[in-house]
């Protein structure tokens, strides 16, 4: 589903954020991307979402090589991804429902169909009765659920989440991870970048560890943290 091969990202000022990173994620997998802050997680997230382009190497998502993607093809790639941003990027001047309707409006779904899908997405993340509320009235955990609902409303095959549990208490973080787990169980490929140590050994996800821009060997949760 996602294949990265010798991906290097060098910024103009000379800093090398990623160095020869390679990995493969198969369809339906749930993978955690971990590492200290500054290890290159966010850079990799940006490369996968085609927000930035790799300096060298190739990233193939769903058979499309991002390195050779034309500029006007990028929007159509992003519609197939469910992106969850570190800063959530909710629109605070719109209701919860309107936030979720936005991706559907962009694709151009008929209004009634869009409404049905948005309500279903909100129900799936556990926010069924907050449609008319504004995001400011939601708790941190609820805002994150809203961000997830917006990401999945287009039924993407891949979810990319950048630090989705940051600034959440342990219980809320666990609930958020359970939501991702539920999506993975219906066949969605999920990649979560997080610097938090993970408290959910029963998820047994694969872990990709980034260290100063380089990929350490892939490990699984069971060998990583059996503390819980």
């Amino acid at each position: 589903m996602i294949t990265a091969c010798d991906v290097t990202k060098r910024y103009p000022e000379g800093r090398e954020a990623l160095r020869k990173v390679s990995f493969e994620i198969t369809a339906g997998e749930m993978v955690f991307l971990t590492g200290h802050s500054g290890a290159g997680k966010s850079t990799l997230f940006k490369l996968l979402a085609a927000i930035e382009r790799p300096t060298s190497g190739s990233i193939v998502i769903n058979g499309q090589n991002l390195a050779s993607l034309r500029r006007n093809a990028i929007p159509y790639l992003r519609r197939k991804l469910g992106l969850i941003f570190q800063d959530r990027k909710l629109l605070f001047d719109r209701t919860v429902l309107d936030n979720v309707l936005l991706p559907l409006a962009i694709v151009g779904h008929p209004a009634r169909e869009a409404m049905r899908r948005a309500q279903a997405a909100l129900a799936k993340v556990g926010l069924p009765n907050r449609e008319k509320a504004f995001p400011i009235a939601l708790s941190g955990g609820e805002q994150q659920r809203l961000a997830i609902a917006r990401a999945v409303v287009n039924r993407p095959a891949i979810i990319l989440a950048d630090e989705p549990t940051a600034n959440l208490d342990t219980a809320s973080a666990a609930e958020i991870l359970e939501i991702f787990r539920a999506f993975q169980q219906v066949g969605v490929t999920v990649l979560i970048a997080t610097h938090d140590p993970l408290h959910l050994p029963h998820l047994q996800p694969r872990i990709l560890r980034l260290d100063q821009g380089e990929m350490s060997d892939a490990q699984t949760q069971s060998t990583e943290g059996g503390t819980a």
Partner: protein, 299 residues
């Protein structure tokens, strides 16, 4: 097709929402655009009225052909047939006897004419040309003067020429004004769209990140410029119509004092439509340029 239409309708709704979201700002922008369009429109309308004043008044322009005193019936019919050929316009033959009678009828002339040994007046043709252009009249007069037994061709065109030159000057001024204010309109739209983009930077960035095409993002902004220009055009139409409404009675009064029957012509429905279309086009252009320049900075 229906999806395409739905997207456009959604963009139009979005533009309307943004326009009504800050009513005072929108109203001020509309007024500025309206005033900018009012000046050239009023100038154009004034010129149009002046042109009608000369063009519509019958008998303002005449060409008189005076025949030689020895011209006879044969020459008359010759000139008549030639006049028919050139189709200069309706004409009328004034025999010398009739001309003398008319002259006698005018006050103070009776005695002078009675003292003349014989009728000094020639036969004449008076043509009311259908062409109003001074150049066309001049060339007609030149043609007439080459005809046989034509002693003199009189074209009272000096004032027509002056007036025409004045109209042309006025036209130039109106065109310059129009260009200037069209530039102003584009600039105003450019700036409002810039502010719109700044205010919605977060929304635009997000839309872009979750798969919005450039067209999707630009469409409501283009509609915003177009709507603002169209409403500004309507605003100008209202201002100009109101101004001409105020001017109509005094102008009619003035015309009556000069013995003329002249009514000021305001904007017609098609004028208003054209004005709105011009406003829309300029607004759209301003939006287009602004979007090209400012969206790049966000994404």
């Amino acid at each position: 097709m229906s999806a395409w239409l739905a997207q456009h309708l959604a963009a139009l709704r979005d533009a309307l929402r943004r326009l009504t979201a800050a009513p005072l700002n929108s109203l001020l922008s509309l007024l500025v655009i309206g005033v900018a369009l009012t000046l050239p429109t009023a100038g154009w309308l004034t010129l149009d009225n002046l042109r009608k004043l000369t063009g519509d008044t019958p008998g303002v322009q005449q060409i008189s052909i005076f025949l030689a005193l020895d011209a006879g019936k044969r020459e008359h019919s010759e000139i008549e047939s030639r006049l028919k050929e050139v189709r200069a316009g309706p004409w009328r033959f004034v025999p010398r006897e009739e001309a003398l009678k008319r002259l006698q009828a005018s006050e103070g002339m009776t005695e002078i004419i009675a003292s003349l040994p014989r009728n000094p007046l020639p036969d004449a043709f008076i043509i009311t040309p259908t062409e109003a252009q001074p150049e066309a009249l001049e060339s007609l007069a030149k043609i007439f003067s080459t005809w046989p037994k034509v002693a003199h061709v009189q074209l009272d065109s000096a004032w027509v020429k002056r007036f025409d030159a004045l109209l042309r000057l006025g036209k130039l001024v109106v065109i310059l004004l129009a260009v200037l204010f069209a530039g102003a309109l584009v600039t105003i739209t450019f700036n409002t769209i810039r502010l719109q983009i700044l205010a919605q930077a977060a929304e635009i960035e997000l839309a872009k990140l979750i798969g919005a095409t450039d067209t999707y993002i630009q469409r409501p902004l283009h509609y915003f410029g177009l709507l603002q220009g169209a409403l500004g055009g309507l605003c100008a139409a209202v201002l100009v119509s109101a101004g001409f409404q105020l001017l109509t009675p005094p102008v009619a009064e003035l015309a009556r004092l000069y013995g003329a029957n002249f009514a000021l012509q305001g904007l017609s429905v098609s004028d208003i439509l054209v004005l709105t279309a011009i406003g829309s086009a300029l607004g759209w252009l301003g939006a287009k340029i602004s979007v090209l320049i400012h969206l790049r900075r966000i994404i």
